[in-house]
């Protein structure tokens, strides 16, 4: 029953976020994020119907659709990099490279795994695959947040909510999937509650943070050589003026 309530609430919040985005004209500002929400909404409705009508088929459908939402979820990280780091080209370059390296490493690891261990098939080991991809997402998000702190980058309410919500879901999923591999099937009942609950928490954060459009604070443009020279010229003129006045008052 609890699972069903979480499910309905999730669908309700996803629909609310999308409706509010369309009403407030925010959809176009964060297209990758809202595409993710729309995909998850579609998948949630589809899985709900599947669970009611074809319960045996549901389990397989769950993992396959999970991989789809996981892949679309990478767009949220791109959206964050695009908005938070775009006015800061140096850190943005670092974040892009970190994301490319992390995702490439994970895909190479999955490829090598399935190549050398013939019995290991990504489609049949979806939990492993999800954990690996969550790991890549977590590392990429970690790099972005670290750069935000290190370079003291100011971020708006929308972006902060997007990062905190997605990060919460990714980290809880990563921890619970890892513990599931450690502990085994004993954790399955807890996992069935923890993961949807963390997603529900993420949806609640997004609903509040993305209710209205609030862009990132605009950084002042960097000082250029020309700007500095103009400043120095002005200061020097004032100094020269002061010096000549001083000279006039000095007895010879």
């Amino acid at each position: 029953m609890l699972t069903l309530i979480v499910w309905w609430l999730g669908i309700l919040l996803e629909a609310l976020i999308l409706v509010q985005a369309l009403r407030g004209g925010i959809f176009g500002k964060y297209p990758l994020f809202y595409t993710y929400i729309a995909t998850v909404l579609g998948v949630s409705v589809f899985l709900y119907i599947a669970a009611q009508m074809f319960p045996l088929w549901y389990r397989k459908a769950y993992w396959n659709t999970q991989i789809i939402t996981l892949a679309v979820g990478c767009g949220v990280i791109l959206e964050v990099i695009r908005h938070v780091l775009a006015p800061h080209p140096g850190p943005a370059r670092f974040a892009r490279w970190a994301a490319v390296i992390v995702f490439a490493a994970i895909f190479v690891a999955v490829f090598l795994h399935s190549f050398f261990l013939r019995e290991w098939m990504p489609a049949e080991n979806s939990a492993d695959l999800e954990r690996d991809l969550r790991m890549a997402q977590a590392l990429a998000l970690f790099v972005v947040v670290f750069l935000v702190f290190y370079y003291r980058i100011a971020i708006g309410r929308n972006m902060k909510g997007m990062i905190v919500g997605f990060g919460l879901y990714v980290s809880v999923s990563l921890i619970s999937l890892t513990l599931r591999l450690f502990v085994g099937s004993q954790l399955s009942p807890a996992w069935k509650v923890i993961q949807p609950a963390s997603y529900l928490a993420a949806l609640s954060v997004w609903t509040v943070a993305l209710w209205a459009y609030e862009p990132n604070p605009v950084a002042k443009p960097p000082v250029g050589k020309a700007e500095y020279e103009a400043l120095a010229r002005g200061t020097r003129a004032v100094l020269d003026d002061g010096r000549s006045s001083f000279k006039r008052t000095t007895p010879s």
Binding site: P87, H88, P89, G90, P91, R93, F94, W97, R131, M135, A138, L139, L141, F142, V145, F146, V148, F149, Y150, Y151, R152, I153, A154, I155, K160, I163, V164, G167, L168, V170, S171, V172, L174, I175, L177, T178, L179, L181, F182, P217, V218, A219, K220, P221, P222, V223, K225, E227, Y228, L231, A232, R236, L239, D240, R243, S244, K247, R248
Partner: protein, 193 residues
Amino acid sequence: MIGLILSLFVGVGLLAILVLLARRGNPRVEGSAQQLVEARQTLDMVQLGLLPRDIVERIFATQDLEYVTRVAPAEVQRAFLRERKRIAIAWVERLRSSFVKLMRLHRAQARVYPQLSLRKEIGLGINFVALLATCGALQVAFRLRGPYAAPRMLETATAAAARVCMISEESLAFLKTEPLRPLEDRARGSEAV
């Protein structure tokens, strides 16, 4: 097994940094000309006022201690050591706060620079952390064992400070102006009638 521990570590680390992000207020929007000029002034102050070898040697010179120990009564020796300790702690505190300010301003400038060098930034970060740790250790040593407690550590701190200064100097090079000519040269031919 290592992979599983690493996954847990990354998951918990991400959660922790998200809590900090959620609690953080927005930093001041930086990058203005005035702040960069301020960075230049801080750097000059560190290079010319805190780090020159003769100043450091004078503050921590053992010859003064030897002289006072040889000729002065115990009460004067205690007063001398108390005073030197105060100066040594003040010197480290000033160095530390100047570098915190310099790094903050360096990062504010570096983030808008497209050709940011990852190697240089990592090097600077490591030097900065090492410098702060050394300053902290020096302060503890001075407080517990007096101003002559850690000469080796003092050398490490000044060397790390010089390295940080050198990197900051490169990134703030464009703010270096030609020195003004002396007053006599400038005033010649423009005297009041």
